[in-house]
């Protein structure tokens, strides 16, 4: 595999774009964001059945398509463009890589349920009311006869839509990942009203909830790191798609909106804003493509490339979304106009897993300066 997009990938991207435009237009997104979970279950089922979206990177032996992370990235770009209220980031970005990073029978139990779309799976590790560096003070206890986990996590991506949560908890042999069925006793999930209402967030509290280890004792943080590197790529892909949507909106409006007797896009003040968005977007897209390629072909480069991609895409998307408001003028700051949906998604995505400065500090560590 190479960096070049293949005909099959191009087809996947176009099919996804058409599908999402029809199945998840922004009118539908607005309906979903008014619900408690901010998750479109019907869309998820159709994405799974019609696009194979939920099992793209799941190996064939576990019921998936056995494709690579480049395909996941192209799909995520389209999901980001459409602001689709799907669990792609949680499931394909975090959960599948977490399961593939750790050995264990949990793969065989969980991956087929992800692949066939029957289970949304998310990953929980953040401590409520703390920073992105935090990990929850959750404890796992048990042994051969079975395990339980207790602890609180917040925010958890798509926590209220998840059938299964992979939670980071401290066990007797160190931190490890445990799978918890959300329908089990001792599991309490509270959907959280989110700043970005198109992405579901929840608080999860576990009290002696039945759990299954999905990574060896002591491996929990490594598994989390591997999952986060992949999630960075999925998130960056979504942000590239979102930034493109903002640029498209800005350019379309600047061509038709007239002031002082001419289209505002003929003024350099507006034209140059659009050009700057494109420059940043192009860089973010290239970096994201490279990081997705690393996930498959150069795993030793993944963490660094993914961090650069995430930070770069975050800046590009926020600029695109913020300038889109500005270019639209007064109408851009209304609830009625769609610009704020992208603006909120852009800021929330920029902040997810750490702001740009936090990523830069991580990059500095990774390259050893």
């Amino acid at each position: 595999m190479s960096l070049a997009i293949t005909d099959e990938q191009e087809a996947l991207r176009e099919t996804s774009r058409r599908f999402l435009a029809a199945a998840s237009p922004l009118t539908r997104v607005r309906e979903v964001m008014a619900t408690e979970t901010a998750f479109d279950g019907e869309l998820w089922r159709r994405m799974s059945a019609e696009l194979g979206a939920t099992g793209l990177a799941v190996p064939e032996e576990f019921g998936g398509a056995g494709l690579g992370f480049q395909e996941v990235s192209y799909l995520a770009e389209e999901a980001g463009r459409a602001l689709a209220p799907s669990a792609l980031l949680a499931t394909a970005g975090l959960a599948v890589p977490a399961l593939l990073a750790g050995p264990g029978d949990a793969r065989a139990a969980l991956l087929p349920r992800i692949a066939d779309g029957s289970a949304v799976v998310s990953v929980a590790w953040l401590a409520p009311g703390a920073s992105w560096h935090s990990t929850a003070a959750a404890r796992a206890s048990g042994g051969e006869s079975g395990w339980t986990v207790s602890g609180g996590f917040s925010p958890v991506l798509d926590g209220a839509a998840a059938a299964v949560l992979l939670v980071l908890a401290e066990g007797p042999g160190g931190p490890a990942m445990f799978a918890v069925e959300t329908g089990a006793p001792g599991v309490r999930i509270q959907p959280l009203p989110a700043l970005d209402p198109t992405r579901g967030l929840a608080r999860v509290d576990l009290v002696d909830a039945p759990a299954t280890p999905v990574s060896p004792p002591g491996s929990g943080r490594d598994v989390l790191s591997a999952a986060l590197a992949h999630a960075d790529v999925v998130l960056a892909s979504e942000m590239v798609g979102g930034a493109q949507a903002c640029l498209d909106m800005s350019v379309a409006y600047a061509k038709v909106r007239e002031q002082f007797g001419r289209p505002i896009g003929s003024f350099q003040a507006i034209k140059h804003k659009c050009a700057e968005i494109l420059v940043e977007l192009e860089g973010a897209r290239a970096m994201t493509r490279y990081a997705a390629w690393c996930a498959e072909a150069a795993p030793h480069e993944l963490a660094g490339a993914a961090a650069v991609a995430k930070a770069t895409a975050a800046e590009a998307y926020f600029r695109a979304a913020a300038e889109n408001l500005q270019i639209h003028g007064g109408i851009g700051v209304t609830w009625e106009h769609d610009a704020h949906l992208y603006f909120k998604r852009a800021k929330a995505s920029l902040m997810l897993f750490g702001d740009v400065g936090a990523y830069r500090r991580r990059i500095a560590d990774l390259i050893g300066i």
């Binding site: 190479s2 960096l3 070049a4 997009i5 293949t6 593939l100 990073a101 591997a226 640029l247 350019v251 600047a254 061509k255 001419r262 289209p263 896009g265 003929s266 003024f267 350099q268 507006i270 034209k271 140059h272 659009c274 050009a275 700057e276 494109l278 420059v279 192009e282 860089g283 973010a284 897209r285 290239a286 970096m287 493509r289 490279y290 390629w293 498959e296 072909a297 150069a298 795993p299 030793h300 660094g304 490339a305 650069v308 930070a311 770069t312 400065g357 990523y359 830069r360 500090r361 991580r362 990059i363 500095a364 390259i367 300066i369």
Partner: protein, 411 residues
């Protein structure tokens, strides 16, 4: 997860391309001079280095490694952008400069190949390859910078010749050139883009000056790398008009849109070296644990990785037979690298701190001071950052042009 594979390439090079890479690699192993390996090439090399570089240029010429993107029939190798990229990668790998024939190779050649007559191609191209003809550019004028088509230097037909009068400026490389390629107004009555001709002008005829006088312009760094050019009855045969009289704008625009690929996958190499030199400066000064410094360095590293990824993506797409659309078109790349250099050198000055405030005797600048000043010109030459944004806005995004204040003939 798969194990790291050192042979895996992000670019789907064809077998033929890989075979070519092997040839270049072998040739470099046998011929790359050790005394040039890893040696940085400054803007104005000292005499000894200059002599070594000239010898290396001769070696490359003899081996057919000059003007490689030109068609074989005109002395080039007919390499695609992807193959040029591979060649650049091999030179970077060997640590020796891939010398070119400068503006003659990159600007004059492509315009001549696209627009000149067969006779002109046979006459103009070989001396560029051999190094016999070195070109400087006569495009900008005191009154025609970003608005290049507003140029006023006149070219009048006098029998079989064109007689040129006027003033050009920002003529870089004038001190080593013996030819100038220039744009002159040959029809003052025509609309401003229509009355321009693209002309090759010898700076000497039969050993005598041909009416071109250079007045060096000292840059803020103290160096005089370009000049004002005064053209007084400078004569050139009409045979040296490329693409036909009054058709020069079209020719000049071709020059600015040569084949993509080329340096896209190697541009980052020099930036990465510069970056690590800056990290050394930071370490020497005990600043590496400063969080703000680390964030600034990580920003710079990220920019370089974006430049690299953009180039890799472009060449990967081209190698796969795709258009590479939406990746590194000329204007976006130019903005990206020039504004990166501008900011990086500002940061470098800040981090180096007190030492950066002191120069050598006679205003001799160190690398960082020199690059700090040079970076200011990168966002100006070859189309300012603002002109590049207009190009992106209008040609890539399709936004409407600014209304022309006055239509009709140039003054």
């Amino acid at each position: 997860m798969t194990a790291p594979d050192p042979d895996v390439s992000p670019i789907p090079y064809s077998d033929a391309a890989l075979e070519f890479r092997g040839e270049i690699r072998d040739w470099l192993e046998r011929n790359a001079p050790d005394h040039l390996r890893g040696v940085p090439v400054p803007r104005v090399p000292a005499p000894e280095l200059k002599a070594n570089l000239d010898r290396w240029a001769d070696t490359l010429t003899e081996a057919g490694l000059m003007c490689v993107a030109w068609p074989r029939e005109y002395g080039g190798r007919g390499l695609s952008g992807v193959e040029v990229a591979l060649m650049n990668e091999e030179f970077a790998r060997a640590g020796v400069p891939r010398l070119t024939r400068g503006m003659g190779e990159g600007l004059v050649g492509p315009a001549v190949i696209a627009h000149a007559t067969e006779e002109q191609k046979r006459r103009v191209l070989p001396p560029i390859i051999s190094g016999e003809h070195e070109y400087c550019q006569g495009f900008s004028e005191p009154g025609a910078g970003s608005d290049l088509a507003g140029l006023r230097t006149r070219g009048e037909v006098d029998g079989t010749h064109l007689v040129i009068n006027g003033q050009k400026t920002w003529t870089s490389g004038y001190y080593k050139a013996n030819w100038m390629f220039c744009l002159v107004r040959t029809d003052p009555a025509a609309p401003k883009h229509r009355g321009i001709s693209y002309v090759l002008l010898p700076l000497e005829v039969d050993g005598r000056p041909n009416g071109v006088e250079f007045r060096p312009i000292t840059r803020m760094s103290g160096q005089a790398l370009f000049a004002e050019s005064f053209l007084t009855d400078a004569r050139t045969p009409l045979d040296n008009v490329i693409g036909g009289l009054n058709e020069g704008w079209r020719v000049a625009m071709t020059t600015l849109g040569s084949e993509r690929g080329g340096s896209a996958t190697t541009q980052h190499v020099a930036f990465e070296r510069q970056f690590w030199r800056l990290v050394d400066e930071v370490r020497k000064r005990g600043l590496r644990d400063d969080v703000r410094v680390r964030e600034q360095l990580a920003w710079a590293w990220s920019q370089i990785q974006v430049i690299r990824a953009t180039g890799l993506g472009l060449v990967a797409d081209l190698a796969a037979g795709r258009s590479g659309q939406g990746l590194a078109n000329g204007s976006t790349s130019k903005i990206r690298w020039s504004e990166f250099q501008r900011r990086l050198t500002e940061i470098a000055m800040d981090l180096i701190g007190p030492d950066a405030l002191v120069t050598g005797a006679g205003y001799e600048l160190d690398e960082w001071q020199d690059e700090f000043f040079a970076a200011r010109s990168h966002t100006i030459w070859g189309g300012t950052a603002e002109v590049q944004r207009n190009i992106i806005g209008e040609r890539v995004l399709g936004l409407p042009k600014e209304p022309e204040p006055a239509k009709g003939a140039a003054r």
